[in-house]
């Protein structure tokens, strides 16, 4: 049934439909409504998961670590500084191979004090061993929570569902809320063979030898790479059940495109409209939407690009002193190719600046006409 839901409520409904056992979280704008709604649903008896109150995000992740260790499907949500505060626990959770799902509602990092969206918070957690999936609509948010649990539990790696603060989190639009029976079919009960059994004396993640540690990390990397295939399989199964298909990278009107916008998150939706406009003007424009950031779909990207095409990568994030973060990753993924497309990096919309179709069209033209500088980040804004 279709319902008008804000992005945060779409996430909460997804968590409920996933029959999540334990939720622990600490409030922070723009994430708080997810947890508020789960509490309301709990109070009215529609959500039966346990809620663990904590005094910080660090403790929220610690509580989820505990609940996931005994095999409970666990969830938390945060933003910005709250995510940064969890940092050391994120490494621990992926190292302990706990399939926790977390929503990060993108909010720029302070200082200065800022409420609005950019992706620097989630992308700063790049090396923590968490999967990251980016959403472009409220429907994708709900669906991605279900997809994330399925993939996470199959490969035993935690997953972050990431979406733009306010632009999606607080925006209302119709969302198809799937039937519980269908969700149960897609997402069976979590059976974690490595869960702690209270009746057995076992010690988890105690001091290994360097050799053992090295192999554990190699195993994690092996499974992270395996997750690329598991994600595509989950996308196929999702389509069979719900009729919507999700892929690691999603091309739009790219068949004969000379220059392709590469965008993630909500601006990838706006970029579709920008590409339609450019096509109407006779420009050979295309769009590549990046849904997965970790594991990075490098092989899919190499298969997708053709020599002679130009990529205009739009980053709503920045690694100070270098580049936009998606741009860096894309360049490094394409490096093994003998003949590589030109890649231009653009920084736009940091701290919640609007990424409008006009701005995206200008970015496309700068790349298409070779006016942008390929050796550095090009800073762009819609002056309105």
């Amino acid at each position: 049934m279709r319902k008008v839901l804000m992005g945060n409520h779409a996430a909460a409904v997804g968590v409920k439909l996933a029959r999540t056992d334990v939720v622990s979280a600490y409030p922070i704008t723009p994430q708080t409504q997810i947890i508020e709604m789960l509490n309301d649903l709990g109070e009215s008896g529609q959500f039966t998961g346990r809620f663990i109150k904590v005094e910080s995000e660090h403790s929220a992740m610690a509580a989820c670590l505990g609940s996931a260790t005994v095999g409970a499907r666990s969830f938390t949500a945060t933003s910005s500084q709250g995510l940064a505060y969890m940092h050391e626990m994120l490494h621990w959770v992926s190292g302990a191979r706990l399939p926790i799902v977390m929503v990060d509602v993108n909010r720029a990092m302070g200082a200065p004090w800022i409420l609005w969206t950019d992706q620097t918070d989630s992308l700063s957690q790049r090396d923590t061993g968490w999967m990251q999936f980016y959403c472009s609509s409220n429907q994708e948010i709900l669906d991605s929570v279900l997809m994330a649990y399925r993939v996470a539990e199959q490969v035993l790696i935690p997953a972050m569902v990431v979406y733009d603060g306010f632009t999606l989190s607080h925006t209302y639009e119709p969302v198809d809320v799937p039937d519980q029976k269908l969700v149960d079919e897609f997402l069976p009960k979590l059976e974690n063979a490595y869960a702690l059994r209270p009746d057995t004396a076992e010690a988890f993640s105690a001091l290994p030898s360097p050799k053992e540690y090295y192999r554990l990390k190699a195993r994690l990397d092996h499974d992270m790479t395996r997750a690329l295939g598991v994600f595509e399989e989950a996308g196929k199964r999702f389509e069979e059940i719900f009729g919507r298909r999700y892929r690691l990278i999603e091309p739009y009107r790219c068949e004969d495109a000379d220059t392709i916008l590469v965008v993630s998150g909500a601006p990838a939706s706006t970029a579709q409209a920008a590409v339609d406009d450019l096509r109407k003007q006779g420009c050979r424009a295309g769009l590549l939407k990046m849904r997965a950031f970790r594991p990075f779909p490098a092989e899919a990207l190499r298969d997708f690009v053709r020599p002679g095409t130009r990529l205009a990568v739009v980053d709503r994030n920045y690694s100070q002193g270098h580049h936009g973060i998606f741009c860096e990753e894309i360049k490094s993924a394409l490096f093994p190719l003998k003949s590589r497309p030109e890649v231009y990096g653009f920084i736009a919309g940091l701290g919640g600046g609007d990424i409008t179709p006009e701005l995206l069209k200008e970015i496309w033209k700068e790349a298409d006409e070779g006016r942008a500088d390929a050796s550095t980040a090009n800073w762009m804004e819609d002056a309105r």
């Binding site: 035993l156 490595y194 004396a201 010690a203 988890f204 993640s205 554990l216 195993r219």
Partner: protein, 93 residues
Amino acid sequence: MPRLAFDPEKTAPILISGRSMAENKTGIWRSIRPQIDKEKCTHCMVCWKYCPEACVDIASGIPEINMGYCKGCAICADVCPADCVEMVEEVAR
């Protein structure tokens, strides 16, 4: 040098020891040990509450410290209102 030789599918994803952590007697790290003056003790249980190792047993009324786990942190000596815990040098074992 050879490359890393291992079969990822045959390597467990996490490290689980079949032995309980309780067997890990961390008391051997101790260099000073608490000594309780049972005459002066008022049975207030403050040491029990504050012990970060939870190794103070108060079942008998008088605190008994489990030396298998006590690391000699001296928090009990610091918080005892009756000042009945004294830290003494650990003799060589």
